[in-house]
């Protein structure tokens, strides 16, 4: 909000220069974003807080400025010359819905001359960013920016029956507002009507029909107080934000209507002539009152640490126009907030008033007494470990939006899961809470491809959501990986592309890093994975991770032209595995024996390894494959496997004969059970 420094000085005895005043107001909670010199004036641009509608005017700012300067706001002197004819003989006002309009004040000026505003008025409005329209409209604006009370001026001759009726609109009632737009109203909106039709949307915008024009001679001044919530809803429903609705919806001064109407009348008489009908119509069926708020002397120190004497608190509150009474023992006071301070309801509110004018900068810096040792979230050390490990093996950490395109997300959903849908997404295409991290990671992959980065490794650790109707959706932490491109990018020698075994290795590293035990990795058929390159990590019959190559059908939706490998892990199930138990280092020597064999294609290495383990030869210390080959010299339908078996005695060194006998059983298994031909 723009505020003129010169205007402020007309309203209060301000002893500070514009920049110093701006600084002091900021430190009192009225934040000034900038001070700009304009002609012989300075314009202060405020960024005001939402619970202080009393500051949305020059007089409101001047009130705070006066207190800062050790003074208080003087009254605004208004002298009015009235004609003998009372307003009641010309006009009437009826409030049909006092819940939405607690007060309505009207004054009537007859015989005005509508024309251009004098230069000073036009210039002043312009300096705070307002366009000059005509003298009457400018005066209503001027009064709003001066006092914070929005004023509406009607062309009195256009009001049918010379009557104002404040009522709810009828459903689908129509009217054309000042901006020339015909609007359809609804039954919860408040309108200002004449005897026949609405002539204004209360607190939002006046009607075109009764607008002040060059022909206007008689002006009815409206100065009212409306229900803030009602004005906010109406303004939102109509998509119509005005300076008036902005102020009304924050809650104005319920006693400020008369002053503002008089100020308007005074300026009209001065600048547009005419004669003011005697008295005002003031419909105020249920006067609003405020309860006094108690402030106990020590409370300021208890909450802020500031040592403020009760006397000083009383001074500050009085200067801010609270009605203050101090008890006889000087131990507490009661302060009745002025009608414009809608934000004050409790003792702490008074504490803040005192503290901000006494000075937040005088508050000391102390530290609370220690209450014990701090601690991280359970599992944070493991999460940090996993993140670091993944970064060290080449993955960049991604963070994606929690809401995604539902259609994409469902590609990766577990079957039977109900989507968690936003009622009001920003983008209708991203209106579901993610059930998997993969949609986000693949979208990022797509984006990186578009930037011509083709070697990509990303991981994300974050929550996914799954719903069940009517209940709070479940939130679960997952860990997902995506990798594609070269195995060692930036390397000018090796040019191997990433394959299934790289994503498998990454998953195994995660399992190892989480100290997981007792799991197997099995061929699986996950819908979004390539049927021949899909595997799952399984423990106790439950799949805790799926990984493999993205199904070509899914890849083509993303227009991927190179193989992309993904993994998604149920992080909560693998996190926090058991503690580490040391096992003794072997003291006896071991002996290694290699086997090279031609094996039919349908035989999986995992089956061979399991077969050897099932021989339950306790002396076998390890089985490791070291070469897999197909191609020249290997018959079609077979592949050449080479692996090493290491034997070690449990209590003594094995003899050559013993090793040969055990190794013989392994070779025999290969030939008999798996149809292998030893080479």
């Amino acid at each position: 909000m723009k505020v003129s420094y010169n205007w402020l000085r007309e309203l209060a005895p301000i002893t500070l220069g514009p920049r110093e005043l701006a600084e002091r107001l900021t430190m009192a909670g009225l934040a000034v974003d900038s001070v700009e010199r304009v002609g012989d004036d300075h314009i202060l641009d405020f960024d005001l807080i939402s619970n202080r509608p009393d500051t949305l005017s020059h007089r409101g700012i001047a009130r705070e400025a006066a207190v800062i300067c050790g003074a208080s706001l003087p009254p605004l002197p208004i002298q009015l010359t009235e004609s003998d004819e009372p307003i009641a003989s010309f006009a009437s006002v009826a409030i049909e819905d006092p819940d939405l309009c607690p007060r309505y004040v009207a004054r009537l000026v007859k015989g005005v001359k509508v024309g251009q505003s004098p230069a000073w008025l036009a210039a002043r409005l312009e300096s705070i960013g307002q366009r000059s329209i005509n003298n009457i409209a400018d005066i209503t604006n001027y009064v709003m920016f001066e006092l914070g009370q929005p004023i509406h001026a009607f062309d009195f001759s256009r009001l049918q029956g010379h009557r104002i009726v404040v009522r709810r609109a009828t459903d689908r009632e129509q009217m054309t507002t000042l901006d020339g737009v015909t609007r359809e109203l609804s039954a919860e909106m408040l309108v200002i009507a004449d005897a026949a039709r609405p002539v204004g949307i209360a607190g939002v915008m006046g009607g075109e029909d009764s607008e002040i024009s060059d022909q206007t001679t008689d002006v009815l001044i409206e100065s009212a107080y409306f229900n803030p919530t009602s004005i906010r809803r109406t303004s939102q429903q109509l998509g119509l934000d005005t300076e008036a609705s902005y102020r009304f919806s924050r809650g104005g001064d319920y006693l400020g209507q008369e002053l503002a109407a008089n100020r308007t009348a005074q300026l009209i008489l001065e600048l547009a002539g005419g004669s003011l009908s005697r008295g005002a119509i003031d419909v105020y069926p249920a006067p609003i009152s405020r309860d006094p708020v108690r402030l106990r002397g020590p409370r300021v120190k208890h909450l802020t640490g500031l040592d403020v004497k009760l006397e000083r608190s009383a001074e500050i509150l009085s200067a801010l126009q609270f009605e203050v009474e101090t008890d006889s023992r000087q131990s507490e006071l009661t302060a009745t907030p002025p009608s414009f301070r809608v934000d004050i309801t409790r003792e702490v509110d008074l504490v803040e008033e005192v503290a901000r004018h006494f000075g937040y900068d005088l508050i000391d810096q102390t530290l609370p007494v220690s209450a014990g040792a701090g601690s991280y979230l359970p599992g944070e050390s493991e999460r940090r470990g996993i993140r670091r490990m993944l970064a060290d093996i080449g993955f960049d950490e991604a963070i994606s939006f929690s809401f995604v395109n539902g259609e994409r997300d469902r590609l990766f959903s577990e079957p039977g899961r109900a989507p968690v849908t936003l009622a009001n997404p920003i983008d209708i295409n991203e209106g579901e809470m993610r059930s998997s991290l993969l949609a986000g990671l693949l979208e990022s992959t797509e984006r990186n491809f578009n930037h011509d980065r083709r070697d990509i490794r990303l991981f994300e650790l974050g929550r996914v959501f799954s719903g069940s109707r009517g209940e709070r959706p479940e939130e679960r932490v997952k860990l997902a990986l995506v990798m594609t491109g070269r195995a060692s990018n930036e390397d000018w020698r090796a040019r191997r592309d990433l394959d299934f075994y790289d994503i498998k290795g990454a998953v195994e590293s995660i399992a190892d890093s989480a100290n997981m035990r007792g799991f197997t990795i099995e061929r699986s058929s996950v819908e979004y994975l390539h049927p021949g390159q899909s595997a799952s990590l399984i423990r106790d019959g439950i799949a805790l991770a799926h990984f493999g190559r993205l199904h070509p059908r899914v890849a083509s939706l993303y227009k991927f032209r190179q193989p992309v490998f993904v993994a998604e892990i149920d992080y909560e199930s693998i996190a926090q595995q058991g503690s580490i138990k040391y096992s003794a280092l072997p003291r006896l020597p071991s002996a290694a024996r290699d086997i090279s064999a031609l094996v039919p294609d349908q035989v999986l290495w995992g089956d061979i390894e399991k077969g050897i383990r099932d021989l339950t030869i306790e002396e076998i210390a390890s089985i490791k494959v070291f070469d897999v080959y197909t191609g020249s010299g290997v018959p079609d339908g077979t592949r050449s496997l080479a692996f090493r078996v290491v034997y070690r005695g449990q209590n003594r060194t094995l003899t050559d004969e013993e090793i040969a006998s055990m190794h013989g059983r392994v070779s025999e298994l290969l030939e008999r059970r798996f149809g292998a031909r030893l080479r």
Binding site: R387, E475, S488
Partner: protein, 341 residues
């Protein structure tokens, strides 16, 4: 006899001068030191045949010549060995300016890096890190935080809703409430996490961001404790000798409330691009926990008081790394991510 030895020495030196490689050297050694017919060896054999008076003189001369020849041959042997080694090393010479081969390294997200640092600072000050759901009920997201029905913060233009009662949390202050329901004071808690507000993305807004909420509740907690705590935090995060400033402000769940600024760590307060010329950088909102909030979770505001503060983790990361467009945080562009080593 002397002349003959002198002649032999001369002949050897001439031959030695012509040796051009290890093969020549082998022939040279053979010619002079060969066990059967080496010229020096033949002379040595003569020593025994000479008269006693001549024997000693001749023997001395022959041995002297023999030692010289051996030493010259040893020198040449060594010379050719060095030459061969040099040639071998030369063959193994490579272009050391080609890029080194290191396994590819990944990077933590800048928000993770900053979140971990913030957590470290507060844990060292005795805070416990807490967590809560990202989908919240109106009770936790609004009612318990003194945001009554009809308050603009509840507006569907600002908050994402799943249903009338469920929303994406718009602040991690929800965790304050959950913690205070679970545990009694004294409390020292921080809650970092994702929050959501219905802002259209631009360079300074995202509909999702990361916030950190802090809460201390105990006997006799004052705003001075809040100031001291924030001061230490700012020093640990942005550097020593920085000042903090508290400006009165408004938040529904604190009263009195304060906006916290700290002196610009780039220019020291004189005004620069980072602080937009003001010398101050906005850190976040704070204040004394509103008595309505304390009463709502059954903590007596007459017995206990507390402070709370909220910081934007993304904002802090943007400040620290000088990031001018925060949309980059969630685009996962590798060109961005790989800068955070």
């Amino acid at each position: 006899m002397d002349e003959k030895l002198a002649l032999l020495r001369k002949q050897f030196l001439q031959d030695a001068a012509l040796v051009s490689g290890p093969d020549d050297l082998a022939s040279l050694r053979d010619k002079y030191l060969g066990r059967k017919s080496g010229l020096i060896v033949s002379e040595k054999k003569k020593i025994g045949t000479l008269a006693a008076e001549a024997r000693s003189e001749f023997g001395r001369l022959v041995n002297e010549l023999s030692a010289d020849v051996e030493s010259e041959i040893a020198r040449l042997t060594d010379h050719f060995a060095r030459q061969a080694e040099a040639a071998e090393l030369d063959r193994e010479k490579i272009d050391v300016t080609l890029p080194g081969s290191a396994p590819r390294r990944g990077h933590l997200h800048p928000i993770t890096i900053v979140r971990q640092r913030i957590e470290d600072v507060f844990v060292s000050m005795g805070y416990t890190v807490e967590d809560g759901p990202e989908i919240e009920t109106s009770f936790y997201n609004f009612d318990a935080l003194n945001i009554p029905p009809g308050h603009p913060a509840r507006d569907p233009a600002d908050t994402f809703y799943l249903s009338d009662d469920l929303a994406l949390r718009s602040q991690t202050s929800t965790v304050q409430i959950r913690t205070m329901q679970k545990r009694r004071p004294p409390l020292r808690v921080i809650a970092p996490g994702r929050v959501f507000r219905r802002d259209t993305p631009d360079a300074t807004h995202n509909p999702m961001f990361f916030q950190l909420e802090g809460l201390t509740v105990d006997h006799n907690i004052t705003m001075a404790d809040l100031k001291g705590t924030i001061q230490i935090f700012v020093e640990k995060m942005f550097g020593p000798d920085l000042r903090t400033r508290f400006r009165p402000s408004y938040f529904p769940f604190t009263e009195p409330s304060a906006e916290v600024d700290f002196s610009c760590y780039v220019c020291g307060g004189s005004g620069c691009r980072t602080c937009k010329g003001t010398g101050w950088i906005e850190l976040g909102g704070s204040g004394m926990v509103h008595p309505n909030v304390l009463q709502g979770v059954g903590v007596d505001p007459e017995e206990y008081s507390g402070f709370a503060f909220g910081l934007g983790i993304d904002r802090m990361a943007a400040l620290m790394y000088d990031i001018d467009d925060i949309r980059l945080f969630f685009e996962n562009d590798i060109r961005f991510l790989e800068q955070f080593v």
